[in-house]
């Protein structure tokens, strides 16, 4: 079933609708659906974030996420996975990434969902910029703080 998503992009510039992702993989043969949604948080190391902005190397990120999905579907028997990462501006409280894993049993559903989000965070060429009141910074890139010019 590793072909489920092959022609769907894993990147979007719109709001992520979890129910639509669930509908892509759920069937009456699945007993278990695990989902993960990462959302834009108001606080980052004590500083207040107004907005997150995501940038990707889009062709490579889409391929890498597709490879991660295929790995998870091979590793976890019966799992089918749908996932989307948001690009561009992501307002507070909205989903920046969502993963859905359907499987006959919950152990595989949880493991597949966890594998996909962990690997996306470790491997997909996507970068997060935090926008503060007084400037912006790329996460994990010390020295990238850029003051906002009033």
């Amino acid at each position: 079933m590793g072909t489920t998503h092959s022609n769907r992009s894993h990147l979007t510039r719109s709001a992520i609708e979890l129910a639509r992702l669930v509908a892509q993989v759920a069937t009456v043969d699945d007993g278990a659906i695990c989902t993960f949604v990462g959302t834009a948080r108001r606080n980052s190391e004590g500083r207040e974030v107004n907005l997150l902005r995501y940038e990707a190397y889009p062709e490579m990120a889409d391929q890498e996420i597709g490879a991660i999905v295929a790995e998870a579907e091979r590793k976890f028997s019966g799992a089918r996975i749908a996932t989307l990462h948001r690009l561009g501006d992501c307002p507070l409280g909205e989903a920046s990434v969502a993963v859905v894993a359907a499987a006959p049993h919950r152990v595989e559903a949880f493991a597949a969902c966890r594998y996909v989000i962990d690997e996306i965070k470790a491997r997909a060429p996507i970068w997060k910029q935090e926008q503060f009141r007084d400037g912006t910074a790329w996460v994990g890139d010390p020295g990238s703080f850029k003051p906002r010019i009033p």
Partner: protein, 79 residues
């Protein structure tokens, strides 16, 4: 030969552009490309960067050919 080098996130911000084009001798590898970029843009030595060639992570000893798409990738922070 000329190769394109894509820049992202904090690297594009520092460079002020999203793409460099660089002239390389034939026989160049990813490592020699990197050295050439660092001598043109010394600030690159200060930042952690990985390289991709044709949309896959690149080893240092991979040859670089005309028409290849190279990219400098800062540490990822998606999710």
């Amino acid at each position: 030969m000329n190769v394109r080098v894509l820049l992202f996130a904090g690297l594009a911000q520092r460079a002020g552009v999203r793409e460099w084009t660089i002239e390389l001798p034939s026989g160049a590898t990813v490592t020699t490309l990197r050295a050439a970029l660092e001598s043109l843009h010394p600030w690159l030595r200060e930042v952690p960067v990985a390289m991709a060639r044709n949309q896959a992570m690149a080893r240092g000893d991979e040859p670089v050919a005309a028409g290849d798409e190279l990219a400098l990738l800062p540490p990822v922070s998606g999710g």
